[in-house]
């Protein structure tokens, strides 16, 4: 669509435009970003003042209209689901985002430096998670997660990781992303592997075991295959990770995510 971003939102501060934008947002954006723009399992919390791909009017317009390559954010009108928005409607959505944008500072109350220590130390997050090239591979890379998910979602992911499994590979035309499901297989030779599903279809399975080895199976040749939605990640309760320490870890994730 040949829409060009001007520098300023023509509807800036217009409450009526923001209301119209809310309808557009609910129809076009809330699927990933949540009903109140506060983030969902797929898209970041847009009520934050800090946005990874720019927070100026022109940058927001560009992000909405052109999407973000390499992420799940599609160009306007290219979701294959729902209609595209006109230039006017995009500006209305921006007005709406501004209306919900938290005025609070982007900084978390937590101590990011201590969070980093926990991440790589006693909380052992790095056993399975990588940040900026350092850490494990079994769980999702968390380098950008801080900016891509709401705080509530991050808290839930630590406290109850099985409630909503993290999403893995998204294929271009496939509606639903693969999730970090737990899988246990026994091969025809009797070898047992446990790990996460990297991808699968009706006939084949691509998995990573807990030793970070990839295994590619023809399902019909396996002796057994069991999948579980109980995450391999342990649920961190208050005893394992206090609220304060959790805040520190989140502060670290947000600080890294903003980079």
């Amino acid at each position: 669509m040949a829409l060009r971003a001007q520098d300023k939102n023509p509807f800036a501060g217009d409450a009526k435009a923001a209301k119209l934008g809310e309808s557009q947002f609910r129809a076009n954006c809330a699927f990933c970003h949540g009903l109140g723009a506060r983030g969902g399992g797929r898209g970041p919390d847009l009520s934050r003042a800090q946005k990874r791909h720019g927070n100026s009017d022109a940058e927001l317009f560009r992000t909405i209209n052109e999407g973000v390559p390499g992420t799940a954010m599609p160009p306007n009108g290219a979701t294959q689901q729902g209609v595209g928005m006109t230039e006017e409607e995009i500006w209305q959505v921006i007005s709406y985002i501004r209306s919900v944008q938290a005025k609070a500072p982007a900084q978390m109350v937590g101590n990011a430096a201590h969070g980093k220590e926990l991440f790589y130390g006693s909380a052992a997050c790095s056993t399975c998670h990588m940040i900026q090239g350092k850490g494990g591979r079994l769980g999702p890379d968390l380098s950008t997660t801080g900016s891509a998910r709401s705080t509530d979602y991050l808290v839930e992911s630590v406290r109850s990781p099985s409630r909503r499994l993290a999403q893995g590979i998204s294929e271009a035309m496939k509606e639903f992303s693969q999730e970090y499901e737990t899988v246990t297989v026994v091969t025809a030779e009797g070898t047992k592997f446990m790990g996460v599903v990297m991808n699968e279809d009706h006939f084949t399975l691509q998995m990573m075991d807990t030793r970070e080895q990839l295994h590619l199976f023809d399902k019909s040749k396996l002796r057994s295959l069991e999948k579980s939605r109980e995450s391999l990640m342990p649920a961190y309760d208050q005893k394992t990770l206090s609220d304060k320490d959790l805040q520190d870890v989140l502060a670290y994730l947000l600080a890294v995510g903003a980079q």
Binding site: F31, Q80, D201, F203
Partner: protein, 571 residues
């Protein structure tokens, strides 16, 4: 490669430079109405000889694309061809070919692929007529291929306006063929007749102003001398209609508004002026019963799709099955599946005609999750039973028609309802196999949270009044190919898909059912049991309904996936 021509279309040089020798010999009888070409210098004796050859038969295979209306009625006589979107007028998507069968399906191999090189969903079901395959691609591409090799004979692409806004991708599901022309409905709401031999535009008519949100994505249906289409646009507050055009000239013969105007029966089912923007698009190809001269069409959601306030009433003829007289568009009867719908439960699933003893039926597995058996002589419901998870309805009226729960409507906070907005099935074709006497349908098990988003109507702007979300708390959504016994409505077997798919289903006399999945597999299962016999990884999710044809005595199965049209056959 592409160049812009005078008529505003983009054509590749395949058609521009095509030698016209063969065409010159056969052309006069194939397109008597042509005016926009230099006259073809053929003498009368030669013309007579050609006609003679055609009459004595044997010439049928050389008279490519000369499809008289009676051939469409008698499509069962030429199972090597696939003459219309659903394969036959009954909408069965059944191929009588049996060379590929349960004993050899495991040996299927790819034969050729044709790449549109376009992005987005590739939804075409191609036609095959006497060795030539006619298909459509994304962004209103159309093409004719040598069905033996996949090599293009011509390619066409419409130069679409920049401001079209089709709701759900720049898709098209296929062509109709009649005489020497193929017919394309476009995203800017035109109907175009293309010369079947060259891809040249023969006529081009505007059905309606696309800027109000109208588009055409379906494959037209040719009946007698008419080309029948319906419009998409239920997301924009359009007023839906079904049109018939003279195949020879493009002249519109009738229009049936799927939302009745003042003074017409059914108008009273709309509150105030809501009928003007009532939606009810007819965006899937209909079927036709030559015995009673009735064409059956289905319609989509009332607008706005997920908000019933402001349009109190049943909202006829949204989400309905319509029985029309093809010559006039006169309504014989209707059956409404979802009254006053606020879940986007378009009834735009191919209405499949099946005869059981002396019963003349329409079978439809509806987007709302119910499988309906309807007497097609009068529109009366025989029964309706769920074929997927349903929570929007828990009771039926005196006629057995499922009715909505009061508390199933979308709310501002969100209300979880099954099936979700994409439905328990959707536009992807089901199939009826006369050998197993089973109905096969793609089922989607997905519930959504339906939320209202009040908004004012503005012409050409999205007008949902709604939002919907997958339920994050639920287990993953799944899908299945389900075999349903139409006698009982009960499921005979199912083949589970890891995630919901948009692939349609083909059945064949070889005892096979073909379907695709979101993970990119194209799969052959045994029609009787649901046991998988073969699969092929296409490399992209399947968003199309497969078909089958034969050439040189060899059977092929074809399906579109990604940007490729793929064909398979025996080694």
């Amino acid at each position: 490669m592409m160049s812009r021509t005078m008529d505003g279309t983009v054509k590749s040089r395949f058609s521009a430079q095509k030698p016209r020798g063969e065409e010159a010999v056969l052309a006069p009888q194939l397109r008597p109405e042509r005016k926009n070409r230099a006259s073809i210098g053929m003498t009368r004796p030669l013309f007579a000889a050609v006609v003679f050859l055609a009459l004595v038969g044997g010439a049928a295979t050389s008279l490519h694309a000369q499809v008289a209306p009676q051939r469409l009625v008698d499509s069962a006589k030429e199972p090597q061809n696939w003459l219309m979107y659903s394969g036959d007028y009954a909408g069965r998507r059944f191929s009588a070919l049996e060379q590929i069968n349960i004993s050899n399906a495991a040996m299927l191999v790819p034969k050729w692929a044709y790449q549109t090189m376009a992005g987005g969903k590739f939804e075409t079901t191609p036609l095959v007529v006497d060795g030539i395959l006619y298909g459509t691609g994304q962004d209103n591409r159309a093409f004719a291929l040598d069905a033996r090799s996949g090599r293009p004979i011509w390619q066409y692409q419409r130069a679409l306006p920049a401001d079209i806004r089709p709701c759900c991708g720049r898709v098209n599901r296929g062509l109709a063929i009649l005489g020497d022309k193929v017919f394309l409905g476009t995203l800017d709401a035109h109907v175009i007749a293309l010369d079947a031999k060259t891809g040249s535009v023969v006529w081009d008519v505007t059905t309606v102003d696309y800027s109000k949100g109208y588009s055409i994505t379906l494959a037209p249906l040719a009946i007698k001398n008419l080309v029948i289409i319906g419009v998409s646009g239920g997301e924009y507050g359009i007023r839906g209609f079904i049109d018939a055009y003279d195949a020879a000239t493009g002249e519109r013969k009738w229009r049936f508004y799927t939302v009745p105007g003042p003074g017409e029966p059914g108008h009273e089912t709309w509150e105030g002026d809501s009928w003007k923007i009532g939606g009810a698009p007819a965006w899937i190809t209909g079927t036709y019963d030559p015995a009673t001269n009735t064409t059956f069409w289905t319609t989509g959601n009332p607008s706005p799709s997920n908000r019933g306030e402001g349009r109190a009433g049943d909202n006829l003829y949204s989400n309905s099955l319509l029985a029309l007289e093809p010559e006039t568009g006169k309504l014989k009867w209707y059956f409404q599946f979802s009254k006053h719908d606020d879940h986007d439960y378009d009834a735009t699933q191919v209405p499949v005609m099946v005869d059981q003893g002396d019963r003349r039926l329409i079978l439809q597995a509806n987007r709302n999750g119910f499988f309906y058996l309807i007497d097609r002589t009068n529109g009366k419901l025989v029964f309706a039973d769920p074929f997927a998870r349903v929570t929007w309805s828990d009771s039926k009226d005196a006629n057995g028609v499922p009715i909505a729960r009061k508390d199933a409507s979308p709310t501002l906070e969100g209300n979880r309802v099954c099936p979700g907005a994409a439905g328990a099935t959707n536009w992807m074709s089901p199939t009826y196999d006369p050998q197993t006497q089973l109905f096969y349908v793609t089922a989607r098990e997905q519930c959504d949270i339906f939320s209202t988003a009040p908004q004012a109507y503005e012409a050409g702007h999205a007008y949902y009044g709604s939002a919907y979300f997958p339920n994050d708390d639920a287990a993953p959504f799944t899908g299945a190919l389900r075999a349903i016994d139409p006698n009982t409505g009960k499921m005979k077997w199912e083949w589970k898909h890891p995630s919901p798919t948009w692939s349609g289903v083909l059945s064949t006399a070889g005892g096979l059912v073909f379907t695709g999945d979101a993970e990119g597999n194209f799969i052959a299962v045994e029609a009787a049991s649901g046991k998988a016999l073969w699969h092929f990884q296409c490399g992209a999710s399947v968003y199309s309904s497969p078909m089958s044809f034969a050439i040189d005595g060899k059977q092929y199965v074809a399906v579109a996936a990604g940007s490729a049209l793929l064909t398979f056959g025996l080694p």
